[in-house]
């Protein structure tokens, strides 16, 4: 097929070393249940411990035991938000979040609302950022949890997390950070950020999907989401996805080792894309914060045309992009994130998320730009909005 993947926000390819580690695990005849007490179990427990250490190092956790392996970002977020809320209910029932959180946060909060929790959802400014002072203002004596994402999965905009973490700490409120799209891409340090809970997933740093983690600072009061056995230091029951976790551990190790060179490459591509764009299309809005954002993503709204059509036409030319969060596919609503930025419904409809990876080159972006240029003309020529 030979598709150029510029939809890295939906899926990152596995690194060769990660493939190898997973295949080795699959072919390892001695793989067993890490909870088993015999030798085969112990060998597997060691592999699990190694992966945990690698992941702990990537986010600078003080103790690897603070890392709980999960089935991905969604489980981590549900565990963090629901588990912290339920465990701290007698302290209060108020939770603070932002309008642009991922649906895993928003829908977890909605479920908690149905159970009597009150949620304050803060808006972001036009540049997509929340004001830390607004977080501080929203805190009441009932506030038990603040949940703010590190970077947004549609715009790539990065929030002032360290400031918010400091405010949470000062007010003795638990702080959860959904860092799914940041961990392994940009430096994330749970200690510097004062995060009590931090959600992440393996695929954004080129590990397998279906593997993720939740950082739980020692001493944080939280219920398990999955009750059952005593795996994961009693914090998450269930036989471990060992093959996935091994892949994640390898990916974490590589992400930590190559963070800076990867970032430089990705940022270089971003600079190129932003600079070249005006030569290929006009009348567009960049929805990604120019100063505070991921190096691997650009969100643009192309006026007068609709995103799915653009995406499909680019797909015909073997260019994969996305038009909104892939997990929102099937929903027809305009993205809550883009509306929160103040975009009109029709501008929000024309939104393209271009997300490249360490496997992309300027040539890939060049191909995108020249193809996009034609696609935009074709669709605009069809558009009743463009004519007027």
């Amino acid at each position: 097929m030979n598709v150029i993947n510029l939809d890295h926000i939906s899926f990152n390819p596995l690194l060769p070393e990660v493939r190898e580690a997973m295949i080795d695990a699959i072919n390892n005849k001695d793989l067993h249940n890490p909870s088993s007490q015999h030798k085969a179990g112990e060998k597997s427990a060691e592999m699990l411990a190694q992966a945990r250490q690698n992941v702990a190092d990537l986010i600078n956790a003080a103790d690897p035991k603070e890392v709980v392996f999960t089935s991905g970002g969604t489980e981590s977020v549900n565990h963090a938000v629901k588990g912290a809320a339920m465990a701290n209910r007698e302290k209060g029932n108020h939770i603070i979040a932002t309008n642009i959180e991922h649906n895993s946060v928003i829908r977890s909060l909605k479920r908690l609302s149905a159970q009597g929790f009150k949620v304050t959802s803060l808006s972001v400014d036009e540049s997509g950022r929340v004001d830390p002072a607004a977080v501080a203002d929203a805190i009441t004596d009932q506030t038990i949890l603040i949940s703010v994402m590190h970077s947004n999965n549609e715009t790539g905009t990065i929030q002032p997390i360290a400031e918010i973490g400091a405010i949470a700490r000062e007010n003795k409120v638990l702080f959860h950070c959904d860092a799914v799209d940041s961990v392994g891409v940009v430096p994330v340090d749970v200690q510097a950020l004062n995060a009590d809970l931090l959600s992440f997933a393996s695929n954004p740093f080129y590990g397998p999907t279906g593997a993720g983690g939740l950082y739980i600072r020692r001493g944080t009061r939280i219920f398990p989401l999955l009750d059952g056995g005593v795996q994961e230091h009693n914090k998450r029951a269930g036989t471990e996805n060992l093959i996935g976790i091994i892949g994640m551990g390898k990916a974490a190790q590589l992400a930590a080792a190559h963070m800076e060179e990867r970032r430089a490459h990705l940022a270089d591509l971003k600079k190129y894309l932003v600079e070249q764009l005006p030569q290929y299309v006009d009348e567009y809005i960049i929805n990604t914060n120019p100063d505070h954002s991921l190096p691997n993503l650009l969100n643009i709204s192309l006026k007068y045309i609709e995103g799915e059509s653009v995406m499909l036409m680019l797909d015909e030319e073997n260019l994969a992009v996305s038009t909104k969060s892939a997990c929102a596919t099937g929903s027809l609503r305009a993205s809550h994130v883009l509306l929160s930025l103040g975009l009109s419904h029709s501008d929000a409809q024309g939104t393209l998320v271009i997300a490249w990876g360490i496997d992309n080159s300027k040539d890939d972006l060049q191909k995108l730009l020249s193809t996009l240029s034609g696609v935009v003309s074709t669709l605009r020529s069809m558009s009743p909005l463009y004519q007027k």
Partner: protein, 172 residues
Amino acid sequence: MYNQVVMDHFKNPRNVGVIEDPDGVGEVGNPLCGDMMTIYLKIDENEKRISDIKFQTFGCGSAIAVSSMLTEMAKGKTLDEARKISNKDVAEALEGLPKNKLHCSNLGADALHMAIQDYDDKKAGIVRPREEREEKHEHGDGETCYCPYCDVELDEKASFCEACQRDLTEEH
């Protein structure tokens, strides 16, 4: 996602464009997704027949394919025949649309009917305010609806599932 017929009409849409000095214009917006379609008609007065038809669409792949298919279906038909083209007919001619894209077919027939109405109105010298012209389309055709989240039976018009406390995209 889309079948080959839909993709063909999407990639090579028929009858794109504007008719200068049209005999009838229909313009609808899809309340669900904000997409828009305009249909331009040229009518053969004697035969009461659509002699030319063009469209402009701001919308998803399915909306574009619907526009293209609809204009193909309507072209050359008498007004009476054209009035009978339903959303369902268009979706069927396209050999089906994904469930959550079925509503896109509303755009097409609605815009056509509105363009014919516009022609009729002009003939009769009526000038309708914009709002009055917007046709309301029905939800589904009486089939049972289930919440996509928790699968409980739902009222057709529910926009929120009481059972599981979820907002519903209106595609159930």
